[in-house]
Amino acid sequence: MPGSAAARSNYCANWSRAEPSGVDTPHTSSPTSGPSTGRSDSLNSGLKIQFSGIEKRYGMRMALRGVSLEIGAGECVALVGHNGSGKTTLLKITALLARPSKGQLSFSSGDSVLSSGDIKQRIGMVAHNTLLYDELTAEENLVFFAKLFNLPEPAARARQSLEPVGLARRSADMVRTFSRGMRQRLAIARALLASPQLLLFDEPAAGLDPEGQQWLGQTLARLHAEGCTIVMSTHGRNETQGSVTRAIRLEGGEITHDSGPNGDPYGVLALAAVRETAEGDAR
């Protein structure tokens, strides 16, 4: 079939499920526990991602300029930067939604090579939009995506996934009747459905009230504690940044600051927040 890994010349996937993550888990698990994974390796090891000279061009505009970066398994990385700095493009390329114009992206956790289809099975994404069907109920949405991910007992899995996000009682309601916060919770439930080992969040706190942000912060902490690799784009300071182990600032499609895997991410986050405030004041 076309559309196989061979067709994606810019992607290379190396993967091994056996290797333990070896990642510190500084956060304790929250009382809200997610659905059982249904995969033996579950969330025990996150994905390691390597970007080599990634460029992305939309027509004449360069969205990313030679981004080279390595994100270790189990890291929780915050991508910061003003609008148009390339955060979303980088996330889309990582999710295999966009093809880089130049450069190579590889996923690894060992020696085995997997196809892009196998990588997709292990990626969960919460995008700026909810990626949910308004005309379907919350449960129907999750059952649909559980079937696409070939999960066993999709109906049971969907019901199970609605519990931790606090939407079990609204499972039969249409998504169009949900508030922004409820939609975001459902979007997170959808992203976690297949027990991904790499989670990508594009401004996950957008539209969430302080209570929702706190819930999201706890959820991220739990996922990070379980060893899942998390990459999220974020604006300003919010509750979701509690688990961040590394911060990367993008500007004009280039990495300008990187706290590194062992550095203090809060310096970069504080710098980004200060710049955003200054830019906001200047406007």
Binding site: Q121, L148, R190
Partner: protein
């Protein structure tokens, strides 16, 4: 996940969302009925004239139905960027197109089934004696309509002026399938009725070529 399983899952979702709202089917059926009734009153054809002009009017009505029904196929996926959610799933990208093609084929076929008896009554054409070959021609023509329409709907959905773009792209490409379908239907309505193997082969070839092209380039069609 197998290709058939993912295609069936997407087809089931398309049918569920459409039959829940019925907005697309409802408006299309009303629109094409108005077109057929208006043509009938405008031309007031005799039985022999109906046999000559009827097939053209019928396929024109189906083309209008297709233009109305195929546009939202991918536009709906843009509301919450659900196309990205489909592309995130570990499935063959062609199954996204195939599921939507199958849904569009069934929706168009349903419109045609509703329209055909009305057409037969208004234009005084006996369709029962030629029902089996007519269904074959309708099916082949509709596959061509649904396949090309779905493919171009995917292309147009990501462009500016998308409402204008789809008919502009679609009409020239659909011209061969419309001519072949009309000619095959004219042959069926002739006395004695004749199922032209030339037009039937042409329709089958058109369907195979476009399905193969969609299978080969489906992944690229869905990319941003």
């Amino acid at each position: 996940m197998s290709f058939m399983h993912s295609t069936a899952t997407i087809l089931a979702k398309e049918l569920r969302t459409e039959f829940r709202s019925r907005e697309l089917l409802g408006t299309t059926v009303v629109f094409v009925l108005i077109v057929i009734v208006l043509f009938s009153f405008t031309f007031n054809p005799t039985s022999s004239e109906s046999r000559r002009f009827g097939p053209g009017l019928l396929w024109l009505a189906f083309l209008f139905a297709g233009s109305l029904m195929l546009q939202p196929s991918f536009l709906r996926e843009q509301t919450n960027d659900t196309l990205a959610a489909l592309r995130l799933a570990p499935i063959d990208p062609f199954s996204i197109l195939a599921g939507k093609m199958a849904a569009n084929f069934l929706f168009l076929l349903l419109v045609e089934i509703i329209l055909l008896p009305v057409f037969a009554v208004l234009y005084n054409i006996a369709i029962f004696p030629i029902l089996a070959p007519l269904v074959l021609v309708l099916a082949l023509g509709t596959i061509g309509l649904a396949t090309t329409g779905t493919v171009f709907s995917a292309v147009a959905a990501q462009a500016r002026l998308r409402e204008l773009l789809l008919p502009l792209l679609l009409l020239p490409v659909l011209a061969p399938v419309l001519i072949a379908s009309t000619e095959a239907t004219v042959g069926l309505l002739r006395d004695p009725s004749e199922l032209s193997p030339v037009w039937l082969t042409f329709l089958t070839s058109f369907d195979v070529v476009f399905l193969t092209a969609a299978w080969l380039f489906g992944e690229y069609l869905l990319e941003e």
